[in-house]
Amino acid sequence: MITLTINDREVSVYGTATILEAAASVGIKIPTLCYFKGLDSFGGCRMCLVEIERVPRLQTACTVRVTEGMVVRTESEAITAARRAMLEFLLINHPLDCPVCDKAGECDLQDLVAIYGAHEGRFLEGKRTHPENFNDPFIVRNMDRCILCTRCTRMCDGPQGAYAIAVTGRGSHSFIEPFSGGRYNCEYCGNCLTVCPVGAIMSRLHRHSYRPWYVEREVETVCGFCGVGCTMVLQMRGGSIIRTMPYVGEGAVTGSYGSAGSAAPAQGLNKGLLCVRGRFGYDYLENNERLETPLIRKKGILEPVTWDEALSYVASGLKDVKAVHGAKSIGAIASGRCTNEDNYMLQKLMRFVIGTNNIDSSARFYYSPAQSYLERIFGHGVTANLIPGIANADGVLVAGGDPTAINPILGLQVRALWRKRGKIIVVGTPSGLRRFVNYEIKPHPYLEEAVLGAIVTRLAAKKGFRGENDNIEKYIKATAMPGEQLLKKANVSKEIVDQAAEDLAMMKSAVVIIGPELMERPGASKNLFLVSAIAYLTDARIFLLSERPNYQGVIDMGCAPDILPGGRPIEADVLQHKIKDADVADHKIPEHKIKDTAWTKAPVRKGLNLFAMIEAALEGNLKALYVMGENPVFNFPDRRKIENALSKVDFLIVHDIFMTETARRADVVLPAAAWTEKDGTFTNLERRLQRVRSGIPTMPGRGSVSYHRGGGADKRPEWKTLAGIGRLMGMKENYLTSSDVWEEVSRVSTLHAGLSYDRIAGGNTIWPYGSEPFRGVEGEFEVEAPGMPPAMDDGKIYLLQERQLYHSGSITRKSKALMSISCEAHVLLNAGFAERCGLKDGDKVIVTTETGSLTLPVKTDREIPENVAYVPNNFDNVSPLGIIGYTVDGYLGSISLSGNVVTITKADGPSDAAAGEGYGDKKE
């Protein structure tokens, strides 16, 4: 610790601190312009000048580090004069157009000039001018306002790591520009907009539509686009979101945080950063295609009805199905986009009101099977690791997808680790991590197993066994070194494998990041086992990427056929032989109680999972299906099969915010509330519980006040609708607010015992939340016998889903903003391959599988392997998943894509992507 004196006060700080940080630690504010917490210091604006005793000239507090006995003065006449002079220099070129500048009111320069002057300029020369640049759909540049503080470029080259912008030109004529000079074509995180102290770069989304002081309410909530769960602030006016920002601390409206040595740190696990979806994707919420009233199919047409009518229709419909076909013929699909409260209530309705365990979600595709497999190897909570800790590791292995696209803010942590000289090893196309790897390991998809196996055997030889987990060691020892022939076929050299094993062996604090692609293939369990083996050998922390904000919550709320809220296995009693098999007829045996709150019991036998429900529907055994916040027709593979299955369901209820492809087939459609319109909690991929807060005031009389569209409609959260249905079916409990629901969760689930909203509010509610996690499942995992990896026929092209940074499932196609940067589906092909086929960017091709075809423009990419065709599953009329089939992995229970060998031929007609048929207009 070093002790110094600032303005006659003694201050003790660590020796690495700057004067600015030391001053901030005791609440002394030094004005700044180019400084921004979290970015490298620059020392360019000279606003932070201070006097240091025995140092002849004024010094910049943001760059000078403290020394023992230093005596600093932060305000004096000389300092004020210097600051005024610096500001006058800036105003030589800065236009005085505050009245038409959106930044006015939260502009650092404006604030500082108000304090220090100069109120009149002495320069008569003309100002440097730059035309306003509107070439980009998101970011408008007014470069004559730029004060060249380089905060934006330091953000883009630093924490964001996108390297999209640079200071261009020289001297006072320089300005900030993306490479193209017009469109940014960047990652569009908007983090440069957060840091710009003036109105030089701003979001076009709300251009000239409000003033900072018009913001009526600021609501701190959690982003609803992916499993990272970034903290963000909704700035509301009249029930509408006018802007989303990262957490901006106190007084966000008038002061820009992070600057001026602010003592309030940027909060949330995202530390003040957002990705494109969180920052710009919110406008889908106010899309005028939002469902506003419940609909019931009458004479084949979906007709608007009142809520009362809809709820009793659903309740009586479900009662009828149960009376005739039994509870087993009813099922539900929960949603990774809905809150814990919503999912809990759906689970309660199914299990304890109707009496069926048939409930699951698309977490079944990969997230929940992978997690349960990993937990069987390593024990409960093995994936509960903190995202901000990634950057503190010394190396990371990524397999199964690009974290910078699937979970962008987690991806930034990987980049941060690289900046700290950590090693990054990616098995697969590195994409967003391309600049951050030393060598590439790009096996042909379907042959990852060979490469992972080779790494595991070499790594085991180098590291040896520490005898901690006999079971996994046994399997690792049994792993055979894949032959050179196989490695060659996988297109990865022996040297690279050796290098990777060498680097992994050196890691003292490793991280393993597992993405969905690893599990989508035949032999998924082998891939997952091998990655687990690497994690075991390097003693790594494991992260499981999650495409939905609340996949973890879906599982924890018991929205799975075999577990109760909190994770207790349904069949635990059966497994422990407390129940005789003969007694296992519903209701004859000791029941599962949700402590004392539930009025009835759940069946003892586990229910049907997602895949089994689809099969049951096809066989005509699933008579009623409740789909909440999911769009199986579009988001699940094998569209024909799914449509077929749904057509055999007598009573289909869809609870969603849009008229989705699935909703159009429903008997009842119930409008839902989006994540910004309700209170509740999400559990992110770290298993951190976080509060989701409604931006819309829920006070009586306020909800209907609306200046903009979107404020008026009844945005009833799903749990409320579900509870309404439950009560009509005999449920006794009544819930007024989401906290009543949560209160029940915290009593029912041992995992969440004693957790109140107040405790969750801090964002530090981390697994296992102070409870005793359920134990007793470790050690029972199987490994598929090593053998030949699945057929990967030479020369064949495999259709795979491209997971785009700019989109999230099928909801962001309703975001005009995101559609303006990525508006059209394409088929991504290896550039060399495309060239050989005589295809170039923009050519139309027909991609055909056994069951269907898509006409798409070609996009080429040098980085991806030759034998794959990537198509995003995010655009109207283009569902690559729809034209491929699936099977269920025998060991994991996850989905493996099948029937995805495609032929690609040149097309003449227009592409599907451009067909532009607005969905929702389609008549049944």
């Binding site: 080259d157 390297y163 912008i165 640079a166 261009t168 030109g169 520009e177 490479f179 193209s180």
Partner: protein, 162 residues
């Protein structure tokens, strides 16, 4: 050879050139300036494509390279004629009557400072001292130095540059 083949061949040699530079310079950043000269020679000026190409071969982000390129005035930031005439107009050359030469270039070829002839043959750039003050006026044509210039001499010299 088709135009495309020529171009791609050219790019192969560029790639080799820049890859070679990587071995002789201590850091990738220090390769940028010679690499920019190299692409400038092959593209005629630092077009977006030219800068992108340097980025492809060096791995340095294109925006950063553009920042470097635009910092320096000696790179060609606009398309230019096939030959660049760099005429000194600093003190020594000024005294020796370079103004007449400037006028001559305009009259004879329609070539204005900063401009290019209609046939795309010549571009003119007025320079500060090019270090040939001993025998003014002086100029550079594509890298070849000429001094003791007169209108007649210039005419003769420029004939050589097709």
């Amino acid at each position: 050879m088709t135009r495309e083949e020529m171009e791609s061949k050219d790019n192969e040699t560029l790639k080799d050139k820049i890859t070679g530079m990587k071995r002789t310079y201590p850091s990738i950043q220090s390769v940028l300036m010679p690499a920019l000269y190299a692409v400038e020679q092959s593209y005629g000026w630092l077009s977006q494509d030219a800068i992108q190409e340097v980025s492809n071969h060096t791995g340095v982000p294109a925006a950063e390279i553009k920042g470097v390129a635009t910092f320096y005035s000696m790179y060609r930031h606009e398309p230019m004629g096939r030959h660049l005439v760099q005429l000194c107009t600093n003190v020594s050359c000024l005294i020796a009557g370079v103004e007449d030469l400037v006028k001559f270039l305009d009259k004879k070829y329609g070539l204005l400072p900063g401009g290019t002839t209609k046939d795309g043959r010549l571009s003119l750039c007025l320079m500060e001292c090019i270090g040939a003050c001993g025998n003014p006026p002086a100029m550079l044509v594509d890298g070849d130095a000429y001094d003791n210039l007169t209108c007649e001499a210039i005419e003769q010299i420029l004939e050589k540059y097709e």
